[in-house]
């Protein structure tokens, strides 16, 4: 595939930043734990995208290696987080993250 057809670095990183910000805004405004987990997922994937774009730019496979790492990490994270959410829901009968403030000072 000719190099020119690939989106350049700036475009890729901008997309990644927009994705990350979307995830972050989601984290700040949503209260549903499930949505929060999805937002975290968006944030990690934005970071992963940045790795891939950078790897493509410097013609290196490191970016893709990092991407696989991040996918694995995200899978593990979701597995644990969902289990926690399940426990949370069983105990409190709610998924509102603001109810989860037992450690307030």
């Amino acid at each position: 595939m000719p190099t020119e057809t690939l989106p350049d670095l700036l475009t890729g990183l901008t997309l990644s930043a927009i994705l990350f910000c979307l995830g972050l805004i989601g984290l700040l405004v949503r209260r549903n734990v499930i949505y929060l987990l999805m937002c975290v997922e968006i944030c990690t994937n934005a970071a992963a995208l940045a790795f891939v774009v950078a790897g493509a730019h410097w013609d290196s496979s490191d970016g893709q290696v990092m991407f696989i790492f991040i996918i694995t990490l995200a899978a593990a994270e979701v597995a644990i987080a969902l289990a926690l959410v399940l426990q949370f829901f069983r105990r409190r009968h709610t998924v509102d993250i603001d109810q989860l403030n037992g450690l307030r000072g």
């Binding site: 984290l27 209260r31 000072g105």
Partner: protein, 618 residues
């Protein structure tokens, strides 16, 4: 012989101390209060053994040998740099005379107490304290260095406190105990300063070494004078002399035998003993000597006047004690060392007798102490009356009683003091007149005249263990004048010369005049002073010259008001302030820990943005 007895010396104070430990530890084995008989046997027995040992040592070693000396070194007590102190005892005739008084009179009072305290809840505690007192007093008397003496000195102070407040459920007794402790503490502090001064000057605290050093010091050396005055401060506190005499009248709150033992016969004479023991030091300074004499003379008069108007039987005796110790100080001040110690001995006999018979009166009248409720008791308590009369005669120094001989020695020495008529001698004579007045006023009010309100319920409370000590003391108060301790080797003083005959005559006449005055007043005024109002002077005397009022205004009130101002310690506010600021900061920060994850994310984001912005800008 001397080597044989030296080890036994330590047993004299050790026996009462063992008695104390045993009495305190008895409930550990019994799990409940032991019967009275056990406490009495341990308490009285230990002092009895100690007295017998003293008598034995006196008999075999001291009796025919005026320069006999016994000493024993038990162990090294302290060793700090140049300060080396041993637990050493030293006994010469001065100490022997004191030992005989402390163990002998002490034993009689213990015996009397066994009957007097019968039925009291604190029977065992009482004897434990009494034994501890005797032990501490014996250490005081036999100490070979000033710090060991100070140990005994503080020990008797502690026991005095414990025994004045013996009936602690009445808070007034606790107040009296605290007062005694704090007032004597002022004197003790002066004494401690004196010890430090002596050590820094002479590098030793051994009494004999100090005395030799002081005797060879240049006359009127400032340090010696200062040290002597500081020691006098200690003596003044312990012996209830001006200006620290206020604690003794209040100390009558304790049981009556305690007043007899501690506040009349033994402990309060510790100051006299201290000055007599350190007499070369005092001799080396004219200022200190005249200070001793003046303190004694003033106290003698002031306390005598107070004793004339008191309405409580024990308070009369308390003021008379202060007054008589004033005589001893007067004697010390004019250099009549032998006379002072002799008067100390006879005073111990007749004052113990007076207090114990007063105790019998009080017990017979069901703890009534007001003189004006008594009267006519000679018919109901003939034995007590006899003892009391002997005590009063001896106190007033009527001719041929024990008190006469000792007081006569003092007055003769006072006459010679400045080679003829002088203020000190005149004070002594005036004091003798006053003594005659108040002692017989006391006797008349209690035993003569019509029955008082309390006399009707009188029931003779004397029993065997109480009459025996009374009889022995009565004999001693009458004939104790024959028991002159041979002190000529301890005190190098010129033998008393011959005063004009009229001086002798005045000394004999003064107490008799006092007696006559008391009789006249009593005849013309069968219910004196209670019915009519008191004049201002009588009120002043009654309150002990207003010293309590003065000290309350001058010392106690400023202190309490300062304490009130500084209730929340001003210095403490520094630390409290630090704690307060920390707590506020902590509260501020802990509000940020609100438990909301989204809040944390927001702050995290803000932080990251600020950080990135800084990175870009810089």
């Amino acid at each position: 012989m001397q080597d044989f007895f030296a080890p036994f010396l330590a047993w004299i104070p050790l026996l009462p101390l063992l008695g104390f430990v045993l009495l305190i530890a008895l409930p550990l084995f019994h799990l409940r209060e032991p019967p009275e008989a056990v406490s009495a046997v341990v308490g009285v027995g230990s002092v009895c053994l100690s007295a017998l040992l003293t008598l034995l040592i006196m008999w075999t070693l001291f009796l025919n040998n005026p320069s006999a000396v016994l000493q024993v070194s038990l162990w090294q007590w302290l060793k700090v740099g140049a300060l080396q102190l041993g637990f050493d005892f030293y006994l010469d005739w001065l100490g022997m005379a004191m030992l005989l008084v402390v163990t002998g009179v002490g034993f009689l009072i213990h015996l009397y107490s066994a009957g007097y305290m019968h039925g009291d809840d604190g029977y065992r505690r009482y004897f434990a304290y009494l034994n501890l007192f005797v032990g501490a007093m014996l250490i005081l008397v036999m100490a070979d260095n000033l710090l060991l003496l100070y140990l005994g000195w503080e020990g008797v102070g502690l026991c005095s406190y414990l025994l004045i407040g013996f009936w602690y459920r009445n808070s007034a007794n606790g107040d009296a105990a605290r007062k005694a402790f704090i007032v004597t503490r002022i004197g003790d502090t002066a004494m401690l300063l004196g010890l430090i001064l002596l050590f820094s000057q002479f590098g030793t605290l051994s009494i004999r070494a100090l005395n030799t050093a002081a005797a060879s010091a240049p006359a009127n050396n400032l340090t010696v004078t200062l040290a002597a005055l500081l020691l006098l401060g200690g003596a003044v506190g312990k012996s209830a002399q001006l200006p620290l005499q206020t604690w003794l009248p209040d100390a009558m709150a304790g049981p009556t035998p305690v007043s007899a033992l501690i506040h009349a016969a033994t402990m309060v004479t510790a100051g006299v003993y201290l000055i007599a023991r350190m007499h070369p030091l005092f001799n080396a300074s004219e200022t200190a000597m005249s200070a001793v004499g003046i303190v004694g003379a003033l106290t003698l008069l002031l306390a005598g006047f107070s004793a004339m108007v008191q309405s409580d039987i024990k308070r009369v005796l308390a003021y008379s004690t202060i007054s008589q110790i004033g005589y001893m100080f007067l004697a010390l001040g004019v250099g009549a060392w032998t006379g002072a110690i002799f008067h100390l001995m006879t005073h111990a006999f007749f004052k113990a007798l007076l207090f114990l018979s007063a105790g019998s009166v009080i017990l017979s009248l069901h703890h009534e102490q007001s003189l004006f409720s008594m009267g006519g008791l000679r018919r109901k308590l003939p034995f007590t009356f006899g003892c009391f009369a002997i005590g009063c005669a001896s106190l007033a120094a009527l001719p041929f009683t024990a008190g006469f001989y000792s007081k006569d020695q003092i007055l003769l020495k006072a006459w010679e003091y400045q080679g003829g008529f002088n203020g000190i001698w005149f004070t002594g004579i005036l004091g003798a007149l006053i003594t005659g007045f108040y002692s017989f006023r006391l006797l008349f009010l209690v035993f003569f005249g019509n029955d008082g309100p309390a006399s009707a319920q009188c029931k003779d409370a004397n029993n065997g263990v109480m009459t025996l000590p009374l009889s022995v003391l009565a004999v001693l108060a009458l004939f104790g004048g024959l028991l002159t301790p041979p002190l000529q080797r301890v005190f190098t003083q010129a033998p008393a010369g011959h005063a004009p005959l009229w001086v002798e005559g005045v000394a004999i006449a003064a107490p008799i005049l006092g007696l006559a005055l008391a009789w006249l007043l009593f005849r013309h005024n069968t219910s004196p002073m209670e019915s009519r109002g008191k004049s201002a002077l009588e009120k002043l005397w009654f309150s002990g010259w207003g010293f309590d009022w003065l000290y309350h205004r001058l010392l106690v009130q400023p202190l309490t008001s300062l304490a009130r101002i500084n209730r929340n310690d001003i210095l403490n506010s520094i630390y409290n302030g630090t704690a307060f600021i920390c707590r506020q900061l902590h509260n501020l920060l802990s509000t940020s820990q609100n438990g909301l994850i989204r809040w944390y994310i927001a702050s995290f984001t803000c932080g990251a943005i600020i950080f990135l912005a800084l990175l870009v800008v810089l």
